[in-house]
Every structure is written in C-alpha cells, then in structure tokens.
C-alpha cells in the first residue's frame, strides 16, 4: 500500500480551479519532488496535504489513514517553509521542541529529540541562540530540525532552498539527500528549480496548470518526456522546438518539413508509437547537446549570435534566419547548442546545425509526445 496517497484532489478558489483532479502516490521512504512553473498548483497541493488548505473534493491518506479532513497537526506531517517560519521569540532549541511541548511531552523526551535532531543537522552549537542571530543556511537547518523532532510520517518541503544563495543551495541539496537516506523518511518536496528536482528526486511529478503532466524518475522525464511541456521544462538549456508538418508517410517512416525548398526529414516511428496523419501540424524537438557540426541531418545554416563560454562547456546561440525555434527560454527564435567542451566558435561565424536522426522528438499539436529520441551516450 502506498505511504502517501492523493486521489482526485480538486481545489477551487471561487470560480478559479487551482487543482483539477490530481492523483499520485508515494511509497514509504521515497523522495518525491513536485516541479512546475509558478502558479501551476504545486504549492497548493502541498498545503492541501499539510491541511493548511481545505480541498474542494478528493481524498488524501497517509499510512493507510484517511486524513482528508484531519487537523494539520493530526496528519503525521511536518512542513519546512520557504522563509523558514522560525518563531523569533524562541531559541533554536525551543523552536525545535515546540511541537512536543504543545503535545505536553515530558521534558526529558523533548530534550532527547532536540539534541538528536541538532546532531543530525550539526547545529548543536546554536541551540541557545535566537533565530535572528543565525545565517540563512542555519535557519533552514533549524526549520528542518523542527520537522525532524516531530518524527512525521511524511516530510513536506515548500521551496526550502529558494532563499539561499547558489553555493549554499547546492550544499543543502546534498545535505538533504543525505538526510533522506539517514532518516529513510518519505519526503515530498516542492520546487520550481528543475536542478533540485533532477538531483534529489527518486521520482519527479511535473505539474502544469493544476494538472500532473508526468510522473517518473529524473532520467525518465529527461529521456522520454510525455508531453512537450515536460520536454521544455526538464533540461537546461531548454530543448529547441521547431514547428513543422507531416509531408509524407510511408509505412512507419514519417517525413517532416524542415523549411521551404528543403528535403523532408524522415524519421522511423517505433511500433507502438502513434503515427501522425499527412498534413498534421507537429513540433519537432531537439536537445541543445544533440546539436553539432556533425550528424546525419543538416537542419539549417546559421550565424552565431551569442557565445557563452562556461569553461567546461560552451553555450552557442545561433540564428538560422528562415528556420525559427518557438517557445524558447531566453533568445526567442534562436537555436541553443550545448558544446561539451571549450569551443572556438566566434560571433557572426557561419555554421551548419546538424544532428542525428535519433535525436529528434516529435510532439503532436496537443503537446503529447508521438516519437521519442534516444539518449545520447558519450564514450
């Protein structure tokens, strides 16, 4: 039986539907990350599970117990908030022990629980301090410690790292993963940062517009995105999308237009993949790392417009003039290319954009994936 089960959860604020029938489950000890753009309903879902929001319909159960209408404190959940939400008038130790104090547990038990949590998080030296004397990272540790002392069935994290600077964030990511292993606890983590999702999750739930787009392991989502939205959301820089239509059909071979006066791009659809119809409008997708100087398919000629040398890798944006990408992250219409080394490409340089046939993903007009790419393996 799943440890956390969310079934058909609907949440409306007046006429606005924020969650439209969301269902998923998490096994005991699983680290599940919910990602999505702001306003996609991920925080509302988390708060509904915590009991801070009343849901309009549906049910939530934890460890086999229906908690849909239970008080927040009776649900067996603990939550870590984005702005820490530490009580400013209490010391670190009092903050961490507050839940047990409210539950009127004996002093010795509170002390043991607080000491243990402080040791796990390495904040023993700060127990006597007030929150205002702590740095952002320390505050977040205390907030996590407060959750640990309650020994909940499920930990809920609401964008806990977004107030920290980049260096601290990557440190805390590793720390949280360690914590998850040590405690063996079920964790549900909300973020809009796909790096956090990819690095920490056992499974990722991608949400968009109050619906779940896809649930799967990080690499699953990356390699086999179920929709164009997922393909665009997971992976940085973003996948390049090109609008095209079906120009010819022969058995399982489908030919797509690649601009005026160019021979169609033929892709072989695997058995089981849905074939589009002749004339259908589709979107072709190709990852920035799959674009290069070599490859079976010549996509377009282009001029380099931006070169971002990151040292280990280089990001090249180029303008293919007649062939534009759509729905791109930063430079609309330009192709993003990720070269896994330092590159000698210069601004204004004329290049060929090429890729292998197996690198293309095909999406239907409604966004569903029709054809998957094969993952790239570097030797």
């Amino acid at each position: 039986m799943p440890h956390l089960e969310v079934r058909d959860v609907v949440k409306r604020y007046g006429k606005v539907t924020v969650l439209s029938g969301v269902s998923f489950s998490a096994e005991k000890g699983e680290f599940v990350v919910m990602v999505g753009p702001s306003g996609c309903g991920k925080s509302t879902l988390l708060r509904s599970i915590a009991g801070l929001e009343e849901i309009s319909s549906g049910s939530v159960s934890i460890a086999g117990r229906d908690i849909t209408t239970a008080e927040p404190s009776d649900r067996g959940v603990a939550m870590v908030f984005q702005n820490y939400a530490l009580y400013p008038h209490m010391t670190v130790a009092q903050n961490m022990g507050f839940a047990l104090k409210v539950a009127r547990r004996p002093k010795a038990e509170i002390e043991t629980a607080v000491t243990r949590a402080a040791e796990i998080l390495r904040i023993t030296d700060h127990l006597g301090k007030y929150p205002k004397a702590l740095s952002g990272g320390q505050k977040q540790r205390v907030a996590i410690g407060r959750a640990i002392t309650r020994a909940p069935e499920v930990f809920l994290f609401d964008e806990p790292l977004s107030n920290l600077d980049a260096a601290l964030r990557s440190q805390m990511r590793i720390e949280l993963s360690r914590l998850h292993r040590e405690l063996g606890a079920t964790m549900l983590y909300v973020t809009h940062d796909q790096t956090e999702a990819m690095t920490m999750a056992d499974r990722i739930i991608v949400m968009n517009g109050g619906n779940i787009e896809q649930i799967g392991s990080p690499l699953d989502l990356y390699n086999r995105p179920a929709t164009r939205f997922v393909a665009g959301f997971i992976g940085s820089p973003r996948m390049n999308f090109i609008t095209a239509h079906v120009a010819r059909l022969a058995g399982r071979s489908v030919g797509f237009t690649l601009g005026e006066g160019r021979p169609p791009l033929d892709l072989e659809f695997a058995p089981g993949e849905t074939l589009p119809r002749l004339g259908d409008a589709v979107t072709l997708g190709i990852r920035p790392e799959a674009l290069g100087d070599e490859g079976e398919v010549h996509i377009a000629d282009a001029d380099v417009t931006v070169v971002e040398a990151l040292g280990r890798e280089t990001l090249v944006y180029s303008d293919a003039h007649t062939l534009r990408t759509t729905d791109s992250e930063s430079l609309d219409g330009y192709f993003a290319q990720l070269v896994p080394s330092q590159s000698d490409k210069r601004l204004g340089q004329h290049i060929e954009l090429r890729a292998n046939r197996s690198a293309f993903v095909v999406f239907a007009a409604d966004g569903a994936t029709l054809h998957d790419a094969s993952p790239i393996h570097h030797k």
Binding site: P72, S73, A85, A103
Partner: protein, 273 residues
C-alpha cells in the same frame, strides 16, 4: 549632502523645533508655576520663580493625591488591560476571517470610534447607575475600555494584516489550536502594537476628566484629574497647588512613555500602510 537637501533638512528641523517649543512651553509653565506663590504666579507668570518653594506641593499632597494616584493607576491599568485583550483578539479574528460579514463587523467597530462621548453621556450615566456601579472604579474603567476598543482594534488590525502567516501555519502544524496560535505565537510577537495601543489608551484614560467627574462623587474613588479639580473653589483657586498636582500627575505617564517609546514610534510609523 547637497545644498538642496541641506536646505530641506534645516527647514524640517526649524518646523519640528518650533512645534516642540509649542508643546513644551505649557509644560514648562506648569512646572515653574508649581514652585511659585499665588501672588508671584499672577505678577510674573512666565519668569522663573524667585524662591523654589515646595509649599504648593505640600498643599496638593494634603488633599489626598496619593489616593487619587492609586485610583488612577487602578482604573487606567484595568481599562488598558481590557482594551488590549479584547481589541487584539477581535482584530485577529477580523484580520484572519474570510467571511464577508466580518468586513461589516469591522466597519461597525470603526464607526464606534466616531460617536462623541458627550452625546452618550446621559444614557451612559443611567446605565452605570442602574447597574449599581456609581462611585466605583468600574464605573469609569468599563466605559473607558468600551471607548478605547475601536481605535485599538484598528491599530491591531493593520498590524495583523502584516503578520507573517507562515508562523501561524507552522504553529498549527506543531499542534496549536487557533487560540493557542494567538496566545503563544501572535501575541508574544505583537510588542509594538501592544505598546502603542497601551500608551495611547493610558494617556487618554489617565487624563480623562468629564466621565470621572460625572460618575465619581465620593472623594475616596476619585481619579487624579477630578481630585486635583478639588483645589478650585467657587470663588478662588489655589493655582500653584493645582499646578503642583498636575505636575505630579504627569510624571507616571512620562516614565511609561520613555520606557516604551521605541515600540511606540515603530508601530506608529507603520500605521499609514
């Protein structure tokens, strides 16, 4: 600093200095008059006293100021306590409730602020009288509380709108009921609002005269303003003693203000939001 901002700064300082003088001058006159004789007070009203004499203070103390002082402290403390307790709780519920009717309740409370005391004095007297409370400290402490609640509720309301919700949510997850959230988390963190609310109401209730005069006819329950008024007769008044009594009455408030000034200013600075 540029010339322009310096000119502005000088101008502001001039205005504030002038205002300070305007406020402090009567206080100054009160204090120096308390050390003068009746004759000197009228012949040289603004000059410093020739001899500092404590005779006026002795006469003022002689009419039982210590008793009035105790009454004033009791009445002010009780009314301020009721005001803070009721207003904070009411404002919290008003600020957190999503029910539309609560907005009207809030408007009704704020409207209570606009009812002048004079217009309800007679019915109020009858109410207190039929409750058998005349000549008791409750006779003025309760009306004071009723009169202080609207303003203080507004003060707390604006404060609670800004209060971080996450703290309350964290407390709910930690097992607190609604009231526990209020008393264990929200109220302990409402220092600035409590301080400014308390000072405002303390000043008002400490100085209040007309209701006290109406409700308290016996000398042993009188508060300071009414008690000191006893130094004026039908044909004459002992002005130096009156001033001495007022000077004594002013001291406790100044002490309270100095103690809570930091909170007071901070809270008022945020009131315009």
């Amino acid at each position: 600093m540029t010339l322009r901002s310096r000119t502005v700064a000088i101008g502001l300082h001039a205005v504030v200095s002038l205002w300070t003088l305007f406020v402090l001058l009567p206080v100054f006159v009160m204090v120096i008059s308390a050390f003068k004789s009746q004759a000197e007070l009228f012949t040289r009203p603004l000059a410093l006293p020739k001899h500092f004499s404590f005779a006026a203070f002795e006469r003022a103390w002689g009419i039982g100021i210590s008793g009035f002082l105790v009454n004033s402290i009791l009445v002010t403390a009780l009314s301020v306590f009721i005001i803070i307790f009721a207003s904070s709780l009411a404002a919290y519920i008003l600020a957190r409730s999503e029910r539309p009717v609560m907005r009207w309740v809030y408007v009704a409370i704020v409207a209570g602020f606009a009812v002048p005391l004079q217009s309800v004095m007679v019915p109020l007297y009858q109410l207190v009288s039929s409750a058998g409370l005349l000549n008791s400290r409750l006779a003025i402490a309760l009306p004071y509380a009723a009169y202080g609640i609207p303003f203080t509720t507004m003060l707390f309301y604006t404060f609670f709108l800004e209060f971080p919700r996450e703290l309350e949510e964290a407390a709910r997850l930690d097992g607190c009921g609604r009231l526990e959230v209020f008393f264990r988390i929200v109220l302990p963190l409402s220092g600035p609002a409590i301080a400014s609310g308390a000072i405002f109401q303390a000043v008002f209730n400490w100085n209040e005269f007309i209701l006290a005069l109406l409700m308290l006819t016996k000398s042993d329950v009188r508060t300071l303003p009414v008690g000191i008024y006893g130094l004026t007769g039908q044909y004459s008044a002992d002005w130096p003693a009156l001033m001495a009594g007022l000077a004594i009455a002013t001291v406790p408030l100044i002490v309270i203000f100095l103690l809570a000034q930091r909170h007071f200013v901070r809270s008022l600075a945020g009131l315009g939001k």
